[in-house]
Point group: C2
Chain length 228, copies 2
């Protein structure tokens, strides 16, 4: 492994206990003394700090909006992206099988290492040091403009998307209800048409509303791919 | 509402800002200025503190064990139980509909209020004050003996349960695999027999292992009911 002090600079944190950083970079395929426990801890530190940041930055956001914003910030894809920006892959200690199969670029391995580093900084220097690291990494993502997009619920977003393109509003239809009174599962179809095509998204949820939101979310993804 | 100062004693925290506690006790059916945002924050504070406690108390526990222990400590049922012990129900501000339908005793409302109080204490006095509150509430639950039970994975627990009773080991069988290569769903049957009866549990999961663990967990519940 190259000199870890170069990585201190990238991370913006000088480790008092270098062993913590080494462990955060060690995948389970390399050693039984790996980063899984640190990842568990880092995940909780990240969840806490992101929650308090959102709570403070968006004083008028409802709980549902805060939850959606948090989900958009701490999902595996986002974490892997942040890990790539830090070039964490080159620092990872992987077993030979993972090395050969491209483990240094695997999203889940990178995301786990990113969380493990947060856990390591927390153990090394406390919650405020870990929070500072998270703030720097998330600086752009925390910006209000970016989060505004995910703040709205999917049905509202879909409606606005279609209205902006002068298209008809989506239709939602419950196609099945399964289970008993207190444990029902709703299957919902969302239907959208533009000048040339029709689009359909199927989703399920524990309430009609949840199923519709989920179908709207899938529809937005579909349309995004069409647009892109 | 009775004098909140009585509740300070129960909670073991003297609020500098009483409005925070009032908000934590206000259900959305009563006012738009309710406890939902505080619940979002409290949930994250609780998740963080429970994670760091488990990390410290169980230095040799693997990540999977830590996750299982955390899930057993912060689920809705557990939170509702802690809320009941504090008699939070009598302090809640509920809309008339919720009042009539027994909202003061509803588990989900109690659990949410418990998390909201954690959020309120955090805002009132910081992370260490919130952590002290959580430590007092969770004192018995944090005890190692209690957590030992959930620490092991369900397949191991089931095997030990059967061995202790001199019964045959369980049989697991994959009865269906659905979906495509990267999005498969495994359906698994777990089968157990004692001198008089046969038991079957069906479960599904994104991997064979997960489906088996889930089936073992259901089997343990079934057998527990038989024993009880």
């Amino acid at each position: 492994m190259p000199d870890l002090r170069d990585l201190y600079t990238t991370l913006g944190h000088e480790f008092a206990d270098e062993a913590l950083l080494r462990q955060a970079l060690t995948h389970r395929s390399f050693s039984s003394r790996n980063n899984e426990r640190l990842e568990f801890l880092g995940d909780a530190v990240l969840g806490f700090h992101v929650a308090r940041e959102l709570y403070t930055r968006f004083p008028d956001a409802a709980e549902g909006e805060l939850s959606r914003m948090r989900a958009s910030l701490v999902n595996g894809e986002q974490l892997a992206g942040l890990a790539e920006r830090l070039s964490l892959g080159q620092w990872l200690q992987l077993g030979s099988g993972e090395l050969k199969s491209g483990g240094r670029r695997r999203g889940s391995i990178l995301a786990d290492a990113f969380e493990a580093i947060i856990g390591a900084i927390y153990l090394d220097a406390g919650i405020e040091a870990a929070s500072r690291f998270i703030d720097v990494q998330y600086e752009e993502l925390f910006a209000q403009e970016q989060l505004g997009v995910v703040r709205k619920d999917p049905k509202t977003s879909l409606q606005e998307y279609l209205q902006a393109r002068a298209l008809e509003l989506p239709e939602y239809e419950v196609i099945a209800v399964e289970g008993q009174a207190h444990d029902q599962l709703f299957r919902v179809r969302c239907h959208v048409r533009d000048k040339h095509n029709e689009y359909e998204a199927l989703a399920e949820g524990r309430s009609r509303k949840k199923a519709e939101q989920s179908a709207a979310s899938m529809m937005l993804e579909k349309l995004g791919q069409v647009d892109g």
